[in-house]
Every structure is written in C-alpha cells, then in structure tokens.
C-alpha cells in the first residue's frame, strides 16, 4: 500500500474542483450553482490544509481555510436571500428564466 502524500490530496482537490465546475455548468437551478461553488471552495481548502501539513509547516494555510469557510457562509447567506427575492417576483429560481435583461 502506498503512503499518502501531498499529491494524493492535490489530485483529490483537483477532481473536486472539476466536479464543481461541472456542477455549475450542468445545473439550471441557482442553488445548484451555489452548491458547485461550495465544491470548489472545498477543493481550495483541501489544497490549503494539505500544503500546510506537507509543505510549509506553518499553519497559516489553516487560517486561510477558516476564513474561506466563513466567506462561504456569508456568501451563501446573501445568495440565498437574493434567490428568495428573485423567487418572490418570478416564482422560480431557474437561471434560464432570468432573461429579462438582454442585449
């Protein structure tokens, strides 16, 4: 059995990143896109913590990860408030229905 190193984590994070991108492109529901964003943020955090353990030795990567978790929470709060606002006027949060503004 191989020993686990930095690259395992980086590969996992890269896969998570790509799946996040896929989620964002394939979902039509605004919350689905938000979920894709959360996947990418998790990939970033995983990178940061793995680098912290295996490469830099200092724990500032973990601190950045803490802040990114916080930012994700704040972003989700604002985003869901906006989705609800949108839903109140259009009764859907399908992003394809957001087509009033074009040109």
């Amino acid at each position: 059995m191989t020993s686990i190193g930095l690259q395992h984590y980086l590969l996992l994070a890269a896969a998570l990143f790509c799946l996040g991108i896929l989620t964002m492109t394939l979902k039509r529901n605004a919350i689905g896109i938000l979920i894709g964003v959360e996947l990418i943020l998790n990939a970033a955090n995983l990178n940061l913590v793995a680098f912290t353990r295996y490469r830099t030795g200092a724990i500032d990567g973990q601190i950045v990860a803490v802040f990114i978790i916080l930012l994700a929470a704040a972003e989700a709060a604002i985003a869901i408030a906006i989705f609800m606002n949108f839903y109140n006027s259009l009764a859907t949060i399908d992003v394809d229905r957001a087509d009033q503004l074009q040109g």
Binding site: L10, I35, L39, D60, A74, A77, A81, M84
Partner: protein
C-alpha cells in the same frame, strides 16, 4: 495522535471515496434536495480528511459552520424556493457531453500539472495536530486584521441578507 503508516491510506481512501462519490452524485442527480444532501457527504468527507491532515480545529469548524450552518441554510433555501419536491431539471445530451468532456480535459490537465511538480517538502510534515491555542494565537496576532475585517463583513452581510429576506411590509 498516532495515525499509523498503514492505517492512513485506508482512512484516506475511505474519506476520498466518500468525497468523490458524493461530488459525482451532486453532478449526476437531477433532484436539488438530493444534491444538497450529497453536499453533506462531501463536507463530512472533507472534514474527515482535515482530521487526517492534523487540522482538528478546522475539521470541527467545517462540521459546525459548513455542515451545521451553511448546509442547513442551503436546504432551507431549497425548500423555500421550490414549489414541489420534484425540482428536476435535465440538461440536454449535447450539453452534458460537452461539459463532461471539458471537465475531463480540465482534470487531466490539472492532474498532469499537480503530479508534474516536484513538491519538495520545505519543512517536516506536521506530526502533531495544530492545537486550538496555536490557531487562536495566530488569529489574534498575525491575522488580527483579517479577523476584524471578517467581523465587519459578517455584520454587513447579516444586515443585507436580513433586509433582502424580510417580507415587504
């Protein structure tokens, strides 16, 4: 905590499997509630990996803020913004195929980059988990400014979100 050399791979692949399985589930499922639920799997798996990476505090924060707070918020948002539980949406075949190709190419490129670099270890891999005290000291000394900025950010976001979500009287 002695994560043994032979146990670590098992635990890693277990958690990585959970993470990937749920992330793929998110992509494939067409029901948004299930996507949110799969996100729980991803978040939990990543928290498990944090434990493995000696970041205990971060793992706890991930569970309490992300899984316990943000995710509940997302599920709550799903329930408030869908008329029936059957919120389904089907991307067309060609869209799905194009996206999958892009995703695979992207992953191949990223994987090549990540494995192509010789990640020399600058310091010893941390054998001890970062203690709460260490993280706390860093937060209140070196990272005091971001910490304070984050508090202002949360205040402003709270006011904004509360305003937007409040019914018009």
């Amino acid at each position: 905590m002695n994560v043994n050399t032979w146990l670590e791979p098992i635990v890693f692949f277990l958690f990585a499997g959970v993470v990937l399985f749920s992330a793929i589930g998110i992509v494939l499922t067409r029901n948004i509630v299930r996507a949110a639920l799969f996100l729980l799997g991803t978040l939990g798996g990543v928290a498990g990996l944090y434990f493995l990476l000696m970041a205990n505090l971060l793992a706890a924060i991930q569970l309490i803020v992300y899984a316990g707070g943000t995710l509940v918020l997302i599920v709550f948002g799903v329930m408030l913004t869908s008329k029936s539980p059957w919120v389904r949406f089907a991307p067309s075949r060609s869209e799905a195929a194009a996206a999958t190709t892009i995703g695979l190419v992207l992953f191949a490129a990223l994987a090549k980059i990540v494995t192509g670099i010789d990640w020399t270890v600058a310091a010893h891999p941390a054998d001890q988990p970062a203690t709460v005290r260490q993280v706390g000291n860093l937060l209140l000394q070196q990272y005091l400014v971001p910490f304070e900025v984050a508090s202002v950010l949360l205040l402003v976001v709270m006011i904004g979100a509360a305003y937007l979500a409040r019914p018009e009287n």
